[in-house]
Amino acid sequence: MKILIAEDEEITLKTLELRLKRDGHEVILARDGREALSKIEEHSPDLVISDIMMPYVSGLEIIAAIKENYPDRKIPIIILSGMGQEDTVLEAFQLGADDFITKPFSPNELTVRVRRFDMMKAK
């Protein structure tokens, strides 16, 4: 699966990248929201994993942009949120996010969640 990760924190970005690569996925990295939007257009990923708090364009804006620009493609979105961001998570779901992972997250949990979308895609 081709996965785009949008995350401004280097260590989290690298962890996600390594884990997903090890799980056999193709990974595209974006270090801010603006870069994420342009890479989504360029690479058409099968899944987007995005942090909520990011410079220039937030995770919520990314969800809104994906839903608006690719209404037919149905790109699933997993959002990464910090503890105590329940309201933002709800807003993300209202905008069309498909799943969320709370930081601190377990890489094993990430694998399982991504696998779910992989299976859905295979169906």
């Binding site: 924190e9 280097e10 260590i11 989290t12 690298k14 962890t15 390594l18 884990r19 090890r22 503890m83 105590g84 930081k103 601190p104 997250f105 377990s106 890489p107 094993n108 949990e109």
Partner: protein, 354 residues
Amino acid sequence: MIYFEVVTLIFLGIAFLMICFIMINLTIRKNRRKKYAKSKLMADLLIRNAIFSEHDDAVTDEPFPITGRTQKMLSNPHFKRLLTKELLAAKNNISGVSALNLKKLYIQLNLDKDAEERLRNCKKWHIKAKAIQELGVMEQKEYLNKIYRCTNNKNELVRMEAQTTIVKLYGFEGLRFLDIISYQLTEWQQIKLLKELSQLPPENFSGIEKWLKSKNNSVIVFALKLARNYHRFELYEQVVECLTHEMENIRLETIYTLEKIYNADTANILLERYEHETLKNQKTIVNVLQNIASDENIPTLINFLEQGDNDLKRMIVRTVANINPASIFQLKELPEANSHPLSQIIKQIEGELI
């Protein structure tokens, strides 16, 4: 002519020196950047190996392999600082077995001992505070005694960090530092502690009773907030006692707390207290009574309309109308109901009721 040549020479000399200075400076910076990149790469490698160790499902006793080069680098304080920073960032974002592996690496590299030494020997407050935070993030419970001692440190930021870390590591049990602190808990610190506690499953912790009688006024305020947030009905009597405390702020917090743990007598107790209170607390009592008073308290409330400013009068009318909307007719029958300001206030509240 000679003068011109001398000036040119001086100018060229200065220009030459400046170019040399810039070149040296650029080289030093370039080398520093190179060194930093190398250190970062090594730190990243160490962390990556820990996060994605061969044993993904469990933490083993086997130490992580550390190369001789890394071992040598560890004697460099800059590298150690960078590695610690990266480890903390990773630990803050990762949980599960990977987080336990990061903790294991932290201990294996003796970074905990480093933090402990900084905590013990360093006189700079920001280094102490950072060391406490580090031990907290890395869940180093064995340093409890040293961190606990800092909960009453003379520096506000050191004691704030120590108090938050103790609560992070020990939950409600960690609150026992409230027994000993002599410095005031700032409003901000109270918010931080309550936020930390809100992430834990609520439990019937002990100590509030003692803290309600503390010599430290901020501890009493915090204890009242705890009693309120965790609905500690069994502490009702002790909370009521705080209504007569000499500090206005403590009495105010008590009123708010009673709103959350009230019983059938609370409205009467607050009404008895009303006349001894400051205007601010009187307004709070009237506001709280909106939620806990009953019809039988209405005559007393109406009597209070004789005193206070227009805002207080408006609050009383609103409370009376909220307790029982029909009581607005009772208010209209008052002799002063036809004169300013009560007539306007009654009209306004009537409008709110529609």
